[in-house]
């Protein structure tokens, strides 16, 4: 296998991203040494970075620490430490890597990580995650704030659901006042929300640029690089600047007809997080076949903005509640995820779908077998199903995954006639019958 370093163009934005993330880790180190600024542990899914920004608090994402350990191939040691402590083998590997690293003081980027002044569990859709934050609070002797965010059970959240979350956000503000020693400033909060709305607009435009042929960037692998600034700096003017630079760079690439690969041969949609311990190897498996991701659900875990949602500075608390309940992929129902993927395949004109099942994450992965059936049998979209793990290197069987990837792309290469037939038989786009997913019409019982 060729080394991937020369297989795709990665652009200046990657360097800027790296610099900003290094700076974030430096700030975390400073916080660990001096206690300033105080750090708050929170979740990626529907993260409320705007509230932290309003108080100059530093976000600390245990998930980012876990994935950083994995991508640097340092995740197995903390996982084994957690297993020795009693965590089960099939427990979430993110949790194990983070807890093991916390207990032993292992950090992905060197330096130290601060003890959280508040463990803020802002996503309770996963029961294991709620336990994770309880354990963080227990091990670090940090106060715990559990935000009870209802799952999106209907097409859109009810007024009661929104009001329920907003009430809790007001309680959260009181906690943040205590740990920051600052009085809540509504103007600063609105400003943070305004920055987020700008970033979301830029990010959404970037997401739609991958409809171009070739796509100027890989909407899975490159999008993951952009997710760091999106979650850490979204509510800050530096986040706005970063995404202005990113949009400009990708627009210039579109103008030049340039993509990340020498030649874009296949356009695919990715479902599920990547196998971080083998990130490079996994990317090379796509690059080898000239396959570029044009959309991915994983890049919408922190927020789903490409279909129109923006934080509204006029109603900032309600905006945060809407983001948490409705506008991140993990809190949405499964049929909505089907619909999201179907739109990607259709509007972004993809040749196929690749599902990566995460062995240690039942929340994200349960139902993916059915998803595969829906896309292959109901919609006739070539779909590949792969199994490994987001964090635990022991579940990655390279020969097996490579074999499936090669076979999938060979089969796409064998079947040009089928695609052509679909094109003529189907709608004007990529040949997918426009059968809408039957969204559940559920009534909320009060």
């Amino acid at each position: 296998m060729a080394t991937g370093e020369k297989m795709e163009y990665r652009g200046q934005i990657h360097q800027l991203q790296k610099d900003m993330m290094v700076e974030w880790y430096q700030k975390l180190n400073e916080s660990a040494l001096t206690g300033k600024p105080p750090a708050v542990s929170l979740m990626i899914s529907g993260n409320c970075i705007e509230l932290l920004e309003a108080f100059d608090l530093l976000p600390l994402y245990p998930e980012v620490n876990a994935l950083q350990l994995a991508i640097r191939r340092q995740s197995l040691e903390p996982i084994l430490i957690a297993e020795e402590m009693g965590y089960a083998t099939d427990n979430c590997a993110y949790v194990k890597a983070d807890i093991g690293a916390m207990v032993k003081g292992i950090t992905p980027a060197g330096g130290k990580l601060p003890v959280a002044s508040l463990a803020l569990c802002n996503f309770v859709g996963c029961n294991v995650y709620t336990k994770w934050f309880e354990h963080i609070a227990e091990f670090q002797k940090s106060p715990l704030f559990m935000l009870d965010v209802p799952f999106l059970r209907t097409d859109s959240p009810s007024k009661d659901d929104i009001a329920y979350v907003v009430r809790q956000l007001h309680d959260l503000v009181k906690e943040l006042e205590k740990i920051s020693g600052k009085k809540f400033d509504m103007d600063r909060f609105r400003e943070a929300v305004r920055n987020s709305a700008k970033v979301e607009d830029l990010w959404s435009r970037i997401k739609h640029l991958s409809k171009k042929k070739p796509s100027p960037y890989d909407a899975y692998f490159d999008a993951i690089s952009l997710m760091g600034p999106l979650y850490v700096y979204r509510a800050n003017p530096r986040g706005v600047h970063f995404f202005e630079v990113a949009l400009k760079e990708y627009e210039e690439m579109v103008a030049r007809g340039q993509g990340p690969l020498e030649k874009e041969k296949y356009r695919v949609v990715l479902e599920g997080p990547p196998p971080y311990p083998f990130f490079r190897t996994f990317r090379d498996m796509f690059a080898k076949w000239g396959a570029c991701a044009v959309a991915s659900t994983y890049s919408t875990v922190g927020g789903l903005w490409e279909f129109g949602f923006r934080h509204d500075p006029a109603e900032p608390f309600e905006a945060i509640a809407l983001h948490m309940i409705e506008n991140n992929v993990t809190n949405r129902n499964y049929l909505q995820r089907y619909d999201q993927i179907r739109k990607y395949v259709d509007e972004w004109e993809a040749d196929g779908l690749i599902i990566h099942f995460v062995k240690s994450c039942r929340l994200f992965s349960a139902g993916q077998g059915d998803m595969r059936d829906y896309f292959t049998k109901e919609l006739g979209i070539p779909t590949l199903y792969l199994e490994s793990d987001i964090e635990d290197p022991r579940y990655f069987s390279e020969a097996q995954i490579r074999n499936r990837m090669d076979a999938f792309f060979e089969s796409l290469g064998h079947a040009p006639a089928r695609t052509a037939a679909q094109l003529s038989a189907g709608r004007a786009g990529s040949g997918i019958p426009m059968v809408p997913v039957q969204s559940p019409k559920l009534r909320v019982l009060n």
């Binding site: 076949w289 077998g369 292959t376 499936r404 076979a407 060979e410 290469g413 064998h414 079947a415």
Partner: protein, 280 residues
């Protein structure tokens, strides 16, 4: 006269096939079977050499070689590599042109492939992270019963009351079998239970692709008559099995190789695979 070869380096055995095209007809003129062993590269070379000898031609006369199987990237003399999924599909189509579904059971893989009228892959599923339901499962059962793989099939057909094998783990099946034998169950009933357990697992896998007739079975396990019977019972359909089923992967590889020899400008699948594999 044009010659092409397919070499399938499997986990236990290496299969090689030579195809000939005289301008009128495509014909398989030689097959060879060698144990893979630890030296994968050597096994590929040995298989290819044995097939050339069988065909009565020199290796230099072979215009194109496609390697397949897990050891395919080690076949350095070959021109390109393709997955055994594509090759089994094409091989099954060569053996039975009416094939629409392929069930392949090999040493450590079970797979079901849905194929188009030209032998192209439409969809496939494989066992993941577990060797239960593969030839290895049968091998372990044979070891416990001190029986050869070739004897297992006919012997299991004698079983009238198959036991229920509750585990589908290739390692724990041994203790399950020993426990039944200790209870005084007949060996043929135990074996027929093993076959049914594997068949159920394989069929549930296969149903994830459309199982449409005609179904062709390939891979080493297709030689086991007991396993074939169990699969047919669970599926409720008959299986087409060629005496050359074991060679389906190598045959498919040789068919792709022959296309390459016949049409050097072909911009189809083989070229795609070749281009892609240059990165290896």
């Amino acid at each position: 006269m044009r010659y092409a070869a397919g070499v399938d380096v499997g986990s236990t055995q290496t299969k090689a096939v030579i195809m000939q095209d005289d301008g009128k007809e495509r014909k398989m003129i030689a097959t060879a079977l060698v144990d893979t062993g630890a030296n994968v590269q050597k096994a590929g070379g040995n298989g290819f050499a044995a097939a050339c000898k069988e065909a009565g031609i020199a290796a230099e006369q072979v215009g194109y070689v496609v390697g397949t199987g897990y050891g395919r990237y080690k076949i350095q003399f070959g021109n390109t590599q393709m997955t055994e999924i594509s090759c089994h599909a094409r091989g099954a189509h060569f053996l039975f042109p009416n094939t629409r579904t392929v069930i392949d059971m090999g040493g450590q893989d079970s797979k079901a492939i849905s194929i188009g009228p030209e032998g192209n892959v439409l969809d496939f599923v494989m066992n993941d992270k577990c060797a239960a339901g593969t030839g290895r499962f049968l091998g372990n059962a044979a070891d416990v019963l001190a029986m050869s793989l070739d004897d297992m099939g006919p012997f299991s057909l004698k079983g009238k009351n198959p036991v229920k094998i509750t585990t589908v783990c290739t390692v724990f099946v041994e203790s399950d079998i020993l426990s039944y034998l200790a209870q005084g169950k007949k060996a043929e009933d135990v074996l027929s239970g093993v076959n049914l357990a594997i068949a159920r697992r394989t069929v549930s896998l296969a149903r994830r692709v459309p199982v449409e007739p005609a179904i062709t079975m390939t891979g080493g396990v297709s030689r086991n008559v007991g396993m074939v019977k169990a699969l047919e019972e669970v599926l409720g359909m008959t299986l087409q099995i060629s005496p050359l089923a074991h060679f389906a992967g190598a045959i498919g590889a040789a068919m792709y190789a022959l296309e390459k020899v016949n049409d050097s400008s072909e911009a189809g699948a083989v070229e795609g695979a070749h281009a892609a594999n240059r990165g290896n």
